[in-house]
Amino acid sequence: MDLEILAFECETETDVVCTPPFVNELFETPDVFELFGVGVNRAMLLMFLAAFVVIALLWVALRKRSVVPTKFGAAIEGLVTLVKDEIATGIIGPQGAKYAPYLISIFLFILVGNLMEVTPFINFPITSRMALPAFLAILTWVIFVFAGFKEQGLGYLGHIIWPKDVPIALRWLVGIIEFVSIFLVRPFSLAVRLFANLVAGHVMLTLLLVTGYVYITGFSNATFNGVFGVMWWALALAIFLFEVVVSILQAYIFTLLSAVYIQTSVHPEH
């Protein structure tokens, strides 16, 4: 929720009390300041904050190597082990250890970025700007394409556009479908999934909280409408808890799908 959304245009003469700004205002991030001719906005600052938080978490948790880790250290270690064992080596196989650092990085970065949605006073998921999910998806795309060419050579492309296990009359058609689905649809759906989930949550939370705020403050009959306002806020609280689950799940799914895509290019289907 940007603060600007609270700037209602109120008309006291007519029955219409307040008109909240259009929902598109949620998608505008004005520049906070300018640095060397490049406008810096809130999303960029929060992106750096997310990166810093991830580095700080890992550094604080794993700085000292001791036999008995602290509780915090054990928690972070559990998270890292989850990604490394369940996702990296669990899905990709023994070669997955090579890709574990990348998967752990994007998992933690997306997790922190998503959880900013439900962090008080930030309330802005950086992953709800298409630039960031698109960049992460392109990163995954580059990695799985390179992994494919490295493991299988030019046969990687050959397997896709001329699949040997399909009847020869259909090979060109299957090849085109496979090519489009692997090289175009995969990164697109990967980015859109993360983006749309977070935007949906962000808009939903904003609408509920602003509705509650309008009910409590916007009308003259405060006691009756106040009850409705508090009910809206109670609903918003429930959605908050739901969004925590969505944030964690989306970070997990993005990492999982990255691993699956890398796996399909490391191990060709026999």
């Binding site: 369940e86 759906s189 859109v192 999934r193 983006f195 799914i253 799908l257 699956v260």
Partner: protein, 73 residues
């Protein structure tokens, strides 16, 4: 907002609703079968859960593309 814009928004909203039907049914079937599989074979629960999330992610994409198109329209 002009009348055309409002109509466009309403049609986009209906489009999003239509786009959500298929994935809704799909995720229901998927989750139901996953629960059944986990109940029948609790020791395979971990594997089933991972596969279920994958399936949900693929199915959900259609609804989310509809949601994005609603904003683009």
């Amino acid at each position: 907002m002009t009348e055309i814009e409002i109509t466009k928004g309403a049609i986009a909203l209906i489009g999003y609703g239509l786009a959500a039907i298929g994935p809704g049914v799909g995720i229901g079937i998927l989750a139901g079968n996953a629960v059944q599989a986990m109940a029948r074979q609790p020791e395979a629960a971990g594997m089933v859960r991972t596969t279920m999330f994958l399936g949900i992610a693929f199915t959900e994409a259609l609804a989310l593309i509809g949601f994005v198109l609603f904003f683009l329209a």
